[in-house]
């Protein structure tokens, strides 16, 4: 039977192809669900090779929004979550999905806007006043709208500005439901204001006419925390390897690796594991 022999041969080749793939053989690896900001800014590309050369552990990073990253942990599909929305992280712990939260580092958000600055907020150090002006003037604003850490931070900032954005938004406010890069692309294409973490902004290439409009407000502070997914909930969690990664991140060596990461000479992340309130 020609056909059957051909099919068997094809099946055998297919199996070989799959089996031959080298990455399938690696075992000493963990899955870290993290945010687009840590990945897109290039931080992981800088620190993970250092961690691997020391421990031999391969860290596979899922770059998702904070909401999705925590959900991946809840389902037991990641060993470690590394995100930036303290309230959501604490909820994750209360639900019993995380073991313990360790503060790791912070960076800051910046409010980006078009060079023409239709709201007239350029150079302001008061992000709440700036947002209020954007709303009053109906200047175009792009929101992530994806429950990411940045989205949660944005909603909090509107609240601080005394605006209930869910009720007060108009056609000037667009929720795109996508990642940071997509939001910046959209803002660049439509000359709109957008809130972003500084790391993604610095490594973002398609800026068009966008510039930093507001920065340096303490309320733009962005804290990252790391948690081991609870092995009591999900026995498949690689707790030793995962904890090794967490311990390294908050060690002086991990801190140095984080602090050493720079784009155009500018440091992006500031390690602060020792800060008890972070």
């Amino acid at each position: 039977m020609h056909t059957r022999r051909t099919l068997i041969a094809i099946a055998a080749i297919g199996t070989l192809l799959l089996a031959a793939h080298p990455s399938l053989a690696q075992d000493k690896s963990i899955i870290v669900s993290s945010t687009t900001s840590t990945q897109d800014s290039g931080l992981f590309g800088h620190i993970l090779p250092l961690f691997k050369s020391k421990t031999g552990i391969d860290v596979k990073v899922l770059s998702q929004g904070t909401g999705q990253a925590l959900d991946t942990g809840r389902r037991g599909d990641a060993d470690v979550v590394f995100v930036h929305a303290k309230s959501a992280e604490e909820k994750f712990l209360t639900e019993g999905f995380g073991v313990k939260r360790f503060p790791v580092m912070y960076n800051d958000f910046v409010l980006i806007g078009p060079k023409s600055d239709p709201a007239g907020i350029k150079g302001s150090k008061d992000v709440a006043a700036a947002l209020k002006t954007i709303k009053d003037k109906g200047a175009p604003f792009i929101s992530r709208g994806d429950k990411s850490g940045t989205h949660i931070a944005e909603i909090n900032l509107w609240k601080i500005a005394g605006i209930d954005i869910a009720a007060d938004k108009g056609p000037w406010y667009k929720e795109i439901g996508q990642g940071m890069g997509a939001a910046l692309n959209t803002a660049s294409a439509s000359n709109a204001y957008v809130l972003t973490d500084r790391g993604t902004w610095l490594s973002f290439k398609n800026r068009g006419d966008l510039i930093v409009a507001v920065e340096g407000d303490k309320r733009l502070f962005n804290q990252y925390g790391v948690m081991l997914v609870n092995p009591a909930k999900h026995p498949t969690v690689k707790k030793e390897l995962g904890q090794q990664f967490i311990d390294w991140l908050i060690s002086p060596e991990g801190h140095k690796a984080i602090a050493d990461y720079k784009i155009n000479g500018e440091q992006l992340f500031y390690p602060n594991a020792q800060d008890p309130g972070a």
Binding site: L17, S23, G45, V61, D77, Q178, G179, G181, T236
Partner: protein, 230 residues
Amino acid sequence: MPEDVSALHLILTGDPALLAIVRLSLIVSLSAVILAALIGVPFGALVALTRFPGREGVVVVLNALMGLPPVVVGLLVYLSLSRSGPLGSWGILFTPQAMVIAQTILVAPIIAALTRQTIEDLWAEYRDELTAMNVGPIVRVATLIWDARFSLVTTLLAGFGRAAAEVGAVIIVGGNIDGFTRTMTTAIALETSKGDLPLAIGLGMVLIAIVVAINALAWTARRAGERMAG
């Protein structure tokens, strides 16, 4: 990656990371097409050659499944393979195997539906001969598949095109992990989100070139085969 990295530069220097991405894309999509062919070709032929109640319905559903949205298939496979899902114990979410499974589900209906059409047309042609030979249904199916093999190459290519081009399913079940589950399409999506549009376009060109090359290869093989078969 340094700022001045252009897609052309990556290709010309045979950048190992890019080659690994291309290799993974090909392995995943080709494996999916092979698996889908093993399921879809016999199934399509069987539907073409047998008469049973509800057959019309099966044909309609099969044709409709050609339009399965990748993102929905990705989500269903994700929920099944998740540690909290029914197949969580396999532990293959966020691996190339999971991507092969998702793409197989996407491609199998395409191959089955197109095979059914091809075999049915052929059957109309050979009906009298095969009936006169008085052979059993399995031999009949096998004979027609063999006779249709050159047309079926196009069917497999349609399936491969679908697999190689989709991003929705592989990015959900693979997770776009650097050096492990990053394919051409997920890399393009990532570079777009990083605002590196020239690199994204460059990678897109590479993907199109690969798909064209594979089609050219299959076409040549088909012509050579047809000549040999007379």
